[in-house]
Structure formats: C-alpha cells, structure tokens
Symmetry: C2
Subunit: 93 residues, 2 copies
DNA sequence: CGGCGCACTTGCATTTTGCAAGTGTGTCCG
DNA sequence: CGGACACACTTGCAAAATGCAAGTGCGCCG
C-alpha cells in the first residue's frame, strides 16, 4: 500500500480533513465543530472516534459532560497537506 | 465554502487522488490504471469522467479504441498536496 | 425537582461504492 | 471473409457509507 493510500485510509473519509483543519486553530468542542462545519452529528461522532483511534486527535475533558477535541502532534503534522490542498482549491485556474 | 472544501469537492472522492498520483508519472491508459491501482472498473470510469469535467485531466485518443489519460496543468498543480499527504502517511510516528 | 444545554445515539432513507458479467468496436490470424 | 481477442467501458444488483430527524443520559441552575 502506497504512502498516499495509507494517508487516505486515515483522513480520506468525508469530513475528516475539514475537522482537522478546524482544529488547527486550537481545541474545539463538539457543538462548535458541528455548527462551524455543518457536519451531521452522527458523522461527527464517528469521525472523532476514528481520528482519536488513529492518534490524530484526543479528547480533553473540561467539565461534567463537556469536552474539547485537540490535535496531537500527528494531527498538526497534517497542516502542510491541508494548506497545499486549500491553496489548490482556492485557485480558479 | 472554504478552499479546502472546494478542493475536496473535486478530489475528495474515493480513488480520485490515487488516480492523479499515478498520472503524475505521465499519461496512462485505462487498463494500466485499473491494474496498478486495483480500482473497480465502474468507479474508474466515473472518476475519470468527473476529473475530466473538473479540468484535472484530459483524454488523449491514441488509436481506434485506445486512449490515454493525462493531467492538465491544474492536475499537475496537485503534486504538492499529494506529496505532502504521502509524506504524512509514510511517517509511522 | 423540573427544565436546560451539551454530547452524543438510534432508526431509517438515500447515496456511494464494489463485484461480476455483459457490450461495442476495431485489429489480427487463418 | 470470419472468428477470436484486446481494450474501454456499461449495467445490474448487493453492501457499505452518509445524512436527516428524533431521542437519550446527565450534571447543573433556579
């Protein structure tokens, strides 16, 4: 399996890279991600579980039933790829 | 819609980036892509149509019922993003 | 102790993906 | 001339992913 295929296995699913992009700005709570990205709640829950299992992000308990999601080092390492893709998507030519 | 979302709209579908990666090495024929990537034939046909419509690649007729697929400039511009993702995917830490 | 906000889960409908088999067409071999 | 073949797909259907809407559990605040 190529390196690219390995990467897509982790962050190739729908919404995954958008979630990571949002977390590049710092930890976010579930409701924030949901409202900012417009992602369906069940998909968000599923992706957060997968990305946590993949070591891309982790859960920070805040209060009782409130927590934040933050990128790990591995997660922050996606910044270059995300910036490159964003740059490409922004060019209309 | 963010730049990243715009990019994923074009190359976010399954197999799309793998097809583009393969074409970075130069034009390839349908059967080559199919065998090299192991992508189902109906998905390959669909993706090639979408990527052509998006201006990422184009069809080069070779002979009778033989053609090659080659990246456009817009397609080659994905190289940086693909390399970045591949690098990320290759790191085990 | 009753209602609220937050972080989810659950139950389907819809869409996407995948497998396997079939189609059309031009070339090659006899 | 005719039949087998390679190539580039298409088609039919099953399985999996995605999406919508409503529901659940649980501390907290009044």
């Amino acid at each position: 399996m190529s390196d690219l295929a390995a990467a897509l296995d982790v962050v190739g699913a729908r919404w995954a890279l958008l979630i990571v992009e949002r977390l590049l700005d710092g930890p976010q709570r579930y409701g924030d991600l949901q409202r900012d990205l417009g992602v369906p709640t069940n998909m968000l829950a599923t992706r957060l579980r997968e990305l946590e299992a993949a070591g891309v992000l982790l859960r920070l308990p805040l209060r009782h039933n409130t927590r934040a999601y933050a990128l790990t080092d591995r997660g922050f390492a996606l910044r270059e790829a995300i910036v490159a893709l964003g740059t490409w998507g922004g060019k209309d030519t």
